[in-house]
């Protein structure tokens, strides 16, 4: 157990240090989602009432697209210098590698959300009419839902031709229920009509089901020859 934790931690710090020094992913993600916010704002030009109805959809679609940037480079980075092959032959458990990568992406996307959410609020003049604190569990569970499957499918798409485009093709169909839950929960909280409990529970179920599936099947994917 302790080796699992130390390997996870070592991989995670390595990835964060790499990202901190290059800032490749985070900069392009931030700029990309900023562009999405501005373009959506121009094309819909909503009033405050409409904003509450559509903001949930816009914000999560922006984060979903931006997250793909981070997810795509998760494993692509390890292809250089055959690091991925080194992982395969090393006795380190595959799952600790997976957890480290997923946590790294989670941190990256969370930072993105923390920066972009206030901007969204400003551009769309948003003020939550429902219990605003519920946005925090929605954000945490939603981000994990995107990131856990995204990290897994990135490990699959890295072995295909034209891998950059392959990841969204695999990830988006499977993510439909998660995205719908996030969008609906956010919409309900912002507009204050009804309770978002059903969607939060569904999101939690999605997270539990797919985290389990990822951990159970990741070794198969990593070792696939």
């Amino acid at each position: 157990m302790s080796s699992l934790r130390s390997i996870t931690l070592a991989t995670l710090t390595k990835d964060i240090r790499l990202e901190w020094r290059s800032r490749d992913a985070i900069n392009s993600m931030l700029f990309f989602s900023l562009l999405v916010v501005v373009i959506f704002s121009f094309s819909f030009d909503p009033n405050a009432e409409e904003s509450r109805e559509i903001a949930g959809g816009l914000i999560w679609v922006a984060f979903l697209f931006a997250a793909v940037v981070a997810l795509n480079q998760t494993w692509a980075r390890e292809l250089r210098n055959q690091v991925l092959d080194a992982y395969r032959v090393s006795p380190a458990p595959a799952n600790s590698l997976f957890i480290a990568k997923a946590l790294g992406n989670f941190i990256l996307v969370t930072v993105l959300e923390a920066v972009m959410a206030p901007l969204f609020m400003i551009f769309y003049n948003l003020r939550a009419l429902g219990p605003a604190w519920q946005l925090i569990p929605v954000a945490i569970l939603g981000t994990w839902a995107l990131v856990v499957n995204g990290t897994f499918f990135a490990a699959m798409s890295v072995r295909t031709r034209s891998r950059e485009i392959m990841l969204p093709l695999l990830l988006f169909p499977i993510s439909i229920p998660a995205v719908q839950s996030m969008v609906e929960a956010t919409r309900i909280i912002l507009s204050g009509d009804g309770s978002a409990r059903f969607w939060i529970v569904l999101l939690l179920t999605y997270d539990v089901v797919f985290t389990t599936a990822c951990l159970a099947l990741f070794e198969t994917i990593l070792q696939a020859e």
Partner: protein, 227 residues
């Protein structure tokens, strides 16, 4: 086995012709919808066949991951391909029927959305198979099939929250159906299932031959290297 193939082909052709005759001439006219309702004899059997094939794909994928048998992988591939074709038929015939009856082509109803999401998942499955290199494709595809199957109940619950517009399922649901219509429906389903089996069989043989040819080719090129 090889002799059984033409027998099945003839049987399927006869069944399809008979089912067509039953659906167009014999089945009673629906009182409110009129002749448009006859598309039901193609829509519903295609849906059942598609779901059956997707289920076969899931089972074959699990078997592949456990046993690593190339046959299971070929069955998974073939059932996904044919399943996507039948699912496309469902998604095309549905709106053709819905437009005159509901007045709209499409609605985000439970069964419609679920079918569409299934179609999307299996198209992404086929894209993955097309884009990955041959040696690791089976494993990646089998894993994706399992993820897709896990997704289905979640999609179901996420849409279940909304109102359902689709007519109740005719079997095991609240809807009622004229027994003569049910009879025609079941004949059509039998014909469609035979047709699906026929196509799958043909495609399976093609796939196995293709693999054999690929293997021979790589052996041949290896021999060239040795000499």
């Amino acid at each position: 086995m090889k002799r059984a193939f033409p027998i099945l082909a003839v049987l399927t052709a006869l069944l399809l012709a008979y089912a067509f005759y039953e659906a167009i001439w014999v089945a009673p006219m629906e009182r409110t919808m009129g002749d448009v309702q006859r598309i039901f004899y193609y829509h519903v059997p295609s849906a059942w066949t598609a779901f059956l094939l997707f289920f076969v794909n899931l089972v074959a994928s699990v078997v592949y991951l456990i046993r690593k048998s190339a046959k299971a992988d070929a069955i998974a591939l073939v059932s996904a391909e044919v399943g996507v074709v039948f699912c496309t038929v469902v998604l095309v015939t549905g709106p053709i029927w819905a437009r005159p009856v509901w007045g709209i082509w499409w609605t985000w109803d439970l069964r419609l959305t679920l079918t569409l999401v299934l179609w999307l998942i299996y198209v992404s499955y086929l894209v993955l198979r097309r884009f990955s290199d041959s040696s690791q494709t089976p494993k990646l595809a089998a894993v994706l099939a399992i993820f897709g199957a896990l997704d289905v109940p979640l999609v179901y619950f996420s849409i279940w929250f909304f109102r359902t517009q689709h007519p109740q399922p005719v079997i095991g649901g609240g809807g009622s159906i004229d027994p003569r219509m049910l009879h025609v429906l079941l004949i059509n389903w039998l014909a469609f299932s035979c047709f699906a089996l026929l196509v799958c069989w043909w495609r399976y043989r093609l796939e196995m031959l293709q693999r054999e040819a690929d293997e021979l080719e790589s052996l041949e090129s290896l021999r060239g290297v040795v000499q």
